[in-house]
């Protein structure tokens, strides 16, 4: 019998391993490529996000995200399928090896069976019954073995099939991912929506432009100035509030509205009876600020802006223009020019006796014209209020004002502004007060009193301030009611300049400093340490300037606070200098005390003049003191008094001078005490205590021996005066200390005791000099 082939008996189950290996490799490659594609497209998304900032772009990117969403999962499913294929391949290889083994065994068995078959034939022929029986037995045994091999083979087949099923399942999962992928038509549509032209950013400006033009035309072409116009103007004002911040909108609106109506809107709003006129004009004005600031966006803005800066001809619109520029924010140079054209040039011209057209009268008395409640009627006051928000605009407006292109010294212009108030019609004093207040704020801003520090003024600000002082130097009791607060603030920002302007030490006989009515350069040796005055204000000029505000208690407080603060800082710096100076060179504190004492004396003298009789002045002084006392001395901190309540010390200094330390602890005949009763000793102690605290702050030799009981345990600063005076032990400690320093001065230095005394004495001397 022919022997069947082993391969035919035991064919290899499943797929060809090499082929499956290829499948695995291919799937792995595709998986990697999908991953790479995903990374690349994700980068595109972020690039689009940064390049294309709009709602449209967000949607577009979202669609890209959806489109590529399946990529990572698809990649991982393909990778999984590839791995399953590899596993399948490995299984197939091992199955085939087993089958090979089975085939070999099967071949051996088949050979043996063949041999048995031959033997049996031979044995039967020769009646070898025994042999035949043995052969049959052997054949049976062999057949049984073959059956076992068969079983093993089928086990391998099962193994292969199982692996095939697993791999098949993984492939099915991978292909299932594809059918779920979001590549349907709807994606494309949303991209169409998203990329529609209407959403493109650049066309936003065109949209805004067209919208603005529409609104402007609505107003412009509606010729009847009635309540309907007012209603429409109100609607347009609502649009201003909504879009007015957009440069394209604002510039296009006013460019289209044109020079005429861009000026006269306030009058039109008033005449048409718009009940929301104030809120509406505020919206228009703010948008106008945006338009002027972004005028380059529309060439039509140029004639509008020119109409403001070159107002001329018959012009009743100065007030309108002032209203239009009242609420918005404008470039400083432009608003200054507009203020000059509408109001300030006329003031300059009038003061020079020039032939200024009648419409400038409008500035002072605006009677009977259209009004918007809540908005200043006085044209000059209105325009001054429009520039006061910017120090630069304030300076430019005053510096450049001049009739017919004339250029004047800034102090001339300042004087013109001040004098204009004096020409006010007596019917209209309330307007003058507003006018004064307005120019006060302009001077304040222009002098850097709001945004700069005394001793650190910019050249522009100090030049202007010098002009202010010089202007008042030429005045004789000008009417400045309404401007006090600003002038006091201005003065308080130039206290160093006042201290520099009084004769002290080597300058004692300098007549320029005594009687000058203009500011002068800082005298050569008036350079106190830590002080940096821009110029020096002579005594007479200080008095003239102070006269503008000393009649007003609030304004005076403003000035006193600033002066007290400067004095304190100057003394500390002087104390530091004296602490390290050679004997004979350590008079700085004395000079500083004298200088500032003189300024205080000038202030007191001026107050007496302004307020009236000496009795009145003294009465007022006592009232002030009583209110300080009611605060309690606890309110006065131990050190850094200038930071806490500088005005108190300045005030006390001003009104009392030094009592002398002896009087602290004993009786005195000084009549100034009588009005103050029991508190007199405490008041007497105040000034020398403050001097001690300055010396302590400056680390003056000998102050390291201040008893610890007088110091705050944490800050090591002197305790507040009230805490010392409340405690008899502390008072004794203070007294002992002061006596000790008096009798044990440090080598080469004046003792703390003598220093206190000298400072007080010099201050007092200066005060009397200024007061005389």
């Amino acid at each position: 019998m022919s022997r069947p082939d082993a391969a035919a008996a035991y064919p290899y189950p499943g797929d060809d391993p090499a082929s499956i290996g290829s499948v695995s490799e291919t799937l792995g490659i595709c998986s990697n490529e999908l991953t790479y594609l995903n990374q690349s497209l994700t980068k595109v998304q972020s690039g689009l996000s940064s390049a294309w900032v709009a709602d449209a772009a967000t949607k577009c990117n979202a669609d890209i995200a959806t489109l590529i969403k399946f990529l990572p999962t698809g990649a991982s499913k393909l990778a999984a399928a590839g791995k399953a294929a590899t596993t399948y391949q490995t299984t197939l290889v091992s199955v085939r090896r087993e089958v090979d083994g089975l085939r070999t065994q099967w071949t051996t068995l088949q050979n043996k069976l063949s041999a048995d078959a031959t033997n049996y034939t031979h044995e039967t022929e020769f009646n070898d019954t025994k042999g035949a029986a043995a052969t049959i037995q052997d054949e049976q045994r062999l057949q049984s073995t073959v059956s076992e091999l068969d079983l093993e083979y089928y086990a391998q087949v099962t193994k292969s099939n199982t692996a095939a099923e697993t791999c098949g399942a993984a492939l099915r999962a991978a292909s299932g991912e594809w059918t779920d992928s979001p590549t349907g038509e709807h994606q494309t549509q949303s991209l169409d929506d998203v990329l529609g032209l209407g959403k493109l950013g650049v066309l936003h400006d065109i949209e805004m432009h067209d919208l603005a033009v529409k609104y402007a035309d609505d107003l412009k072409n509606n010729h009847k100035l009635d309540s309907n116009w007012g209603k429409q103007a109100h609607q347009v004002a609502l649009a201003m509030a909504k879009y007015g911040n957009d440069p394209a909108f604002a510039a296009a609106f006013f460019a289209e509205l044109g020079p005429q109506m861009s000026q006269t809107l306030p009058t039109f709003l008033s005449e048409s009876g718009d009940p929301d006129a104030y809120a509406d004009i505020q919206a228009y004005s703010k948008a106008f600020g945006v338009a002027v600031t972004n005028a380059s966006m529309d060439p039509g803005m140029k004639p509008v802006m020119d109409a403001y800066t070159s107002a001329g001809g018959s012009d009743g619109s100065a007030w309108d223009r002032g209203v239009m520029t009242h609420f918005g924010t404008f470039p400083p140079a432009w608003i200054a020019q507009a203020a000059d054209a509408s109001a300030l040039n006329g003031i300059a011209g009038r003061q020079e006796g020039k032939d200024v057209p009648g419409w400038y009268e409008d500035m002072r008395n605006r009677m009977g014209g259209p009004e918007i409640p809540g908005i200043e009627n006085n044209v000059a006051a209105l325009w001054l209020s429009n520039v006061q928000g910017s120090p630069e605009a304030s300076r430019l407006a005053i510096e450049n004002m001049g009739w017919d292109g004339e250029h004047n010294a800034v102090s001339t212009n300042i004087k013109s502004i001040i004098d204009y108030a004096g020409q006010a019609d007596s019917r209209d004093l309330s307007n003058v007060s507003a006018y004064n207040q307005a120019y006060g704020k302009v001077f304040e801003a222009a002098s850097g009193a709001d945004n700069e520090i005394d001793g650190q003024h910019s050249a522009a600000a100090s030049t202007f301030a010098a002009g202010v002082f010089d202007a008042f130097g030429k005045e004789d009791h000008p009417y400045t009611t309404g401007a006090e607060a600003s002038l006091a603030k201005l003065g308080g920002s130039y206290v160093q300049e006042m201290a520099a302007g009084v004769p002290v030490g080597d300058n004692a006989s300098d007549t320029k400093l005594l009687s000058g009515e203009e500011v002068v350069p800082v005298p050569g040796d008036n350079g106190y340490p830590g002080q940096n005055p821009a110029f020096a204000i002579p005594k007479e000029l200080q008095s003239k300037f102070m006269a503008t505000f000393v009649g007003d208690p609030n304004a005076t407080t403003t000035f006193d606070n600033a002066a007290g603060s400067q004095y304190h800082d100057a003394l500390v710096a002087a104390a530091r200098a004296d602490g390290v100076a050679e004997p004979g060179q350590n008079e700085t504190m004395n000079h500083v005390a004298k200088a500032y004492g003189t300024v205080a004396g000038i202030e007191n003298h001026t107050t007496t003049e302004v307020v009236g009789e000496a009795d009145e002045a003294a009465k007022e002084a006592n009232e002030n003191l009583k209110s300080i006392l009611s605060l309690g001395l606890d309110a006065i901190p131990g050190e850094k008094i200038a930071e806490g309540v500088p005005g108190i010390v300045w005030d006390m200094s001003k009104h009392l001078g030094n009592m002398g330390l002896e009087s602290t602890f004993g009786e005195t005949d000084d009549p100034r005490f009588d009005a103050l009763g029991e508190k007199s000793h405490e008041i007497a102690l105040a000034q020398p205590y403050e001097t001690l605290s300055i010396l302590h702050e400056a680390g003056y030799p000998g102050t390291d021996q201040v008893p610890p009981s007088l110091l705050d345990p944490t800050t090591h600063e002197l305790l507040p005066m009230g805490k010392v005076l409340d405690d008899p032990q502390k008072v004794t400690a203070l007294q002992d200390y002061l006596n000790y320093t008096k009798n044990h001065p440090p080598a080469n230095h004046t003792s703390v005791y003598d220093k206190s005394s000298d400072v007080a004495g010099n201050y007092s001397g200066g005060y009397d000099g200024g007061n005389g």
Binding site: D15, V23, L34, G47, A164, T183, D192, L195, D205, I206
Partner: protein, 98 residues
């Protein structure tokens, strides 16, 4: 002012999208013929699944690459329109994102 567009960057984004489309089209991504790799003897097993995978791949990938292409074209078109508008209005608008 958040609506402006860097059109040059839009153009380069469009180009990248287009490059990816070409990339997706290459033979690296080719699962075609994978069904032929499987032994025909497998019948219902692995071979059949491979055939299904191939069909799915052949359906989806072209759509995907086509839509990438479309997207690239639209992004490019936006950049082009933008440039035209800018020219038309005489450079009045500042075409950069704030």
């Amino acid at each position: 002012m958040t609506y402006f567009v860097k059109h040059k960057e839009l153009e380069s984004a469009a180009q990248v999208l287009k490059d990816n489309t070409a990339y997706a089209d290459t033979t690296k991504f080719d699962l075609t013929g994978i069904s032929k790799i499987g032994a025909p003897a497998a019948g219902e097993g692995v071979g059949a699944e491979l055939a299904k995978l191939e069909t799915a791949w052949l359906e989806v990938l072209p759509k995907f690459t086509k839509e990438l292409n479309g997207l690239a074209a639209k992004v490019k078109a936006s950049a082009t329109v933008y440039v035209e508008v800018e020219e038309a209005v005489g450079g009045r608008f500042t075409p950069f994102a704030t």
